[in-house]
Subunit: 371 residues, 2 copies
Amino acid sequence: MSADTPESDTKLNEEQAREQLIDLAADIYDQFERGDIPQMSLPTRTKSNIVFDEDSGVWVYGDRTSTRSANSVRGARKLLKAAYTVEFLAQQLDEDRSSTLRELYYLSESWDSEDAGFSDQDESNQLIEDLEIVSGVTREDFHMRPEESGATLMGPLELREQTRRGERDIHCQEDVGEGGYQIPNNPDTIEFLDHDIDFVLCVETGGMRDRLVENGFDTEYNCLVVHLKGQPARATRRITKRLHDELDLPVVVFTDGDPWSYRIFGSVAYGSIKSAHLSEYLATPEAEYVGIRPQDIVDYDLPTDPLADSDVNALESELEDPRFQTDFWEEQIELQLDIGKKAEQQALASQGLDFVTDEYLPTRLGEMGVL
Amino acid sequence: MSADTPESDTKLNEEQAREQLIDLAADIYDQFERGDIPQMSLPTRTKSNIVFDEDSGVWVYGDRTSTRSANSVRGARKLLKAAYTVEFLAQQLDEDRSSTLRELYYLSESWDSEDAGFSDQDESNQLIEDLEIVSGVTREDFHMRPEESGATLMGPLELREQTRRGERDIHCQEDVGEGGYQIPNNPDTIEFLDHDIDFVLCVETGGMRDRLVENGFDTEYNCLVVHLKGQPARATRRITKRLHDELDLPVVVFTDGDPWSYRIFGSVAYGSIKSAHLSEYLATPEAEYVGIRPQDIVDYDLPTDPLADSDVNALESELEDPRFQTDFWEEQIELQLDIGKKAEQQALASQGLDFVTDEYLPTRLGEMGVL
């Protein structure tokens, strides 16, 4: 079995996902038939086993692997669960149904073998990730819906969404309310029809997203405002990547100025360690960080909170993280440790409600060459 | 100053909100002029000071009051902050702008009196609540936007939303993607144009909301699915109440079967202690609880987790809560303490993915007289 990463430009359709699953079952079957103890080999998923892939510009798993083998009762049970899950997923695809990770966990109670039931949801979640890795398709292609919903879009974009109830053509300014267009669980059901976007602006907090929309920043600067809603859901990261790749648009990320928010930027730009097998599907390595930078805290004398111990630890851990080893991040993180402060996006309001759209963003985006 | 609750059927428009604020400032001014030490009197906001209002069917504040007086430096500073905030809000309404609670907190740094700046956000949040109570209008009428966005609607409803960019007519099945219609921050900008709804179904989790939509429950039963997204935002509660009052629709609430979820039901049906002054604006006392009931855990032998100590404490506290002192809740909570178990909505998947829409909901809604 190979650990190919999924295609980044085309959606592997359900039929292919189904074939991958059946191949996986066939592979286990073949091992049995050869008299081998069946096993599955997977990349080790730790920070020390992620490497930078020069071609794709994202961090992917390295060469170290772990093996799930049936040579113990525990290992055999894991493969049994995998076989039942593959059968369920293949049937789900056949019937054009979908389900959530949590439903899969509960559903396993109804399977005829008690040994195949999951003992907790971590176990079923991990199995789905394993299946993504060994099959090289995403869980969206298996029709596993995320629990968390995606966020919203607002800007000069017209799209077509394939829904179970037919096609929907939606303009993300003219056909939506102030809340914007709600990104569906699987954004690969979306086709971009037309747009007038100059750049994509991903925003962490709802308060700031609403500020930008109220101030008409999306109309004035032809930008698509993507609300990240904190740590972004897969659907949000996926559509951001597609906007960049398919429409050739710059992507910038605007968050609070603290280590947890830098991780939000990281998950948009670099992908996460837990899902490095999906980096080519979810990550936008060309995404750039607007702020709040520690430099902004100094330059604009923003209202701040002191760094907590947990903030300091998180910043130090980021300095060690290969994904943050760039001049920009080393300089900013060291500055932040030095000043001992953090600031929120909305702290820009201390200079007036329009400061962010009249002054801060135009200046920063100018410096970055986006405007 | 009176502590009138806001009108539940008509939106007090911005002009009225502005007048209320100016009256408030005038009242402080008059006290000064009379040579009195200025003060504001507010209902005490504790569990022991909420009473059931027979007329409106909701819980409101009782007769006990607390006084904010300028007879101490601390009290005088509070009134100073109130005066600055009233000025800001009146100006905001004048310019047809809006802002969030967090922006208000930061913005206070830019005021010319240092004593008027808020020392933390709790202080500014509480002041806005105080102003809601004394002025009898809601913070939405002051154009204070919530930080948390509302959730989504899916069902046979056509509405018109007044946005800053003009009117938007949206059908909540035909003009939206699978994600549904995103409720705006202030749902009083919505007018209901037409509908084919038989009942409103409020759902706690995203996974269950998606299940109902995938299974076409909204089309088959002409129901409007309101996603609560955990503890519902004010916008979500407000639109639910308006759907009930203006369209005369039954409202039912479907959550996990644990004490925290009963509070979610409570906040839809009874309002919260913190915002009892808004009960007539936000609460839908006629809302009924579908489940998951502890009785369902027994009847359907659902997969469960044991009650944690914190669950037991929360259940016992609900038994003491006047809002839960009904036969239904006493019976269910006592049963739950007895069996010592809780279950999630999605545990219904242990009987198959369609069990909830083919069997559970039709049976329960039939028993409740909704179907």
